[in-house]
């Protein structure tokens, strides 16, 4: 199982307690759809995704961004058991949604850029970045775990 230092646990809880999922989630998902446009194929029922402005204004993108970001709460509350906590979600993404698991890594990258931009260098230090990226890497791995 993943080992967390006290510094890493502090970093994750500090960042998480200052993250508004309704703010960060939509921004992260919008970025994913703009920076990695092939991901739009998963959202064909979302309406207009034709320009960055349309994506930013799209209410379904905003709602889904909030849902996905809120899903990180499972990990924050189960830091010592992330793999099992995400087992059902992993099965769903594999069997029902057919999401290429490489997209989890790419979405994690977008979330990190939004978090970095929000907190700036004095809060999002190298140490915090290390903890945050490790945390997201564990979540990404857990989400890909039940794929076959």
């Amino acid at each position: 199982m993943v080992e967390w230092t006290d510094a890493e646990r502090t970093a994750i809880s500090t960042l998480w307690s200052n993250i508004d999922v309704g703010e960060i989630g939509p921004q992260a998902l919008s970025r994913l759809l703009v920076v990695f446009p092939w991901t739009q194929r998963y959202f064909s029922t979302f309406g207009d995704l034709s320009t960055p402005a349309a994506i930013a204004a799209n209410p379904k993108v905003a709602q889904h961004g909030k849902t996905v970001m809120g899903g990180l709460e499972i990990a924050v509350k189960n830091m010592d058991n992330i793999k099992n906590a995400y087992a059902k979600l992993s099965v769903m993404h594999s069997d029902k949604l057919h999401v290429d698991p490489d997209n989890f890594r790419v979405l994690a990258e977008c979330i990190t850029v939004v978090v970095a931009a929000k907190f700036g260098p004095s809060v999002f230090t190298a140490g915090f970045q290390e903890a945050w990226q490790k945390f997201l890497a564990v979540v990404v791995s857990a989400l890909g775990r039940q794929y076959h």
């Binding site: 703009v34 970095a116 929000k118 700036g120």
Partner: protein
């Protein structure tokens, strides 16, 4: 060579002119060495590079940060043919320094995050997309002489 629209050129220049090479040069090594600690294998002769404080005070890393960002400046100023200009650099990293090329991608990621911290909301999705396209082209140019 990659093709750039006028809009993309404007965006890249806009991001680059906000980058202070001295400031960003140090911070990016701090992020790279803390987040991807195996990178320290390339810096055996650099002294203390094992904590953020030490990294930010290390003069060899500061100097190397400037070198790396100056090379990026070359790419910004030669957007239509930096692949050719980077060939000797790529060869040097392959033959002499023996850098695992996957590290170019990781360093590019740290550069983007350092810039995101500095530019905040100005690094909007479209700007990020263009900036990452540019860094991908730079990473590819660094890979070009690897066999």
């Amino acid at each position: 060579m990659v093709k750039w629209t006028e809009e993309e050129r404007r965006i890249i220049r806009g991001v680059w002119e906000k980058v202070d090479i001295d400031e960003i040069g140090e911070e990016l090594w701090a992020r790279a060495l803390i987040v991807y600690p195996w990178i320290d294998r390339y810096f055996g002769s650099f002294g203390d590079i094992f904590t953020t404080t030490a990294i930010l005070k290390n003069p060899k890393l500061a100097a190397l940060g400037k070198v790396v960002l100056s090379a990026l400046d070359t790419a910004v100023k030669n957007m239509d043919n930096f692949k050719a200009l980077y060939a000797p650099l790529s060869r040097q990293h392959y033959e002499k320094i023996k850098v695992d090329p996957d590290n170019f991608r990781l360093l590019a990621e740290c550069i983007t995050i350092t810039i995101a911290c500095k530019l905040r909301a100005e690094l909007n999705p479209q700007v990020q997309a263009t900036w990452q396209k540019f860094l991908s082209a730079v990473v590819e140019a660094m890979n070009s002489q690897y066999k």
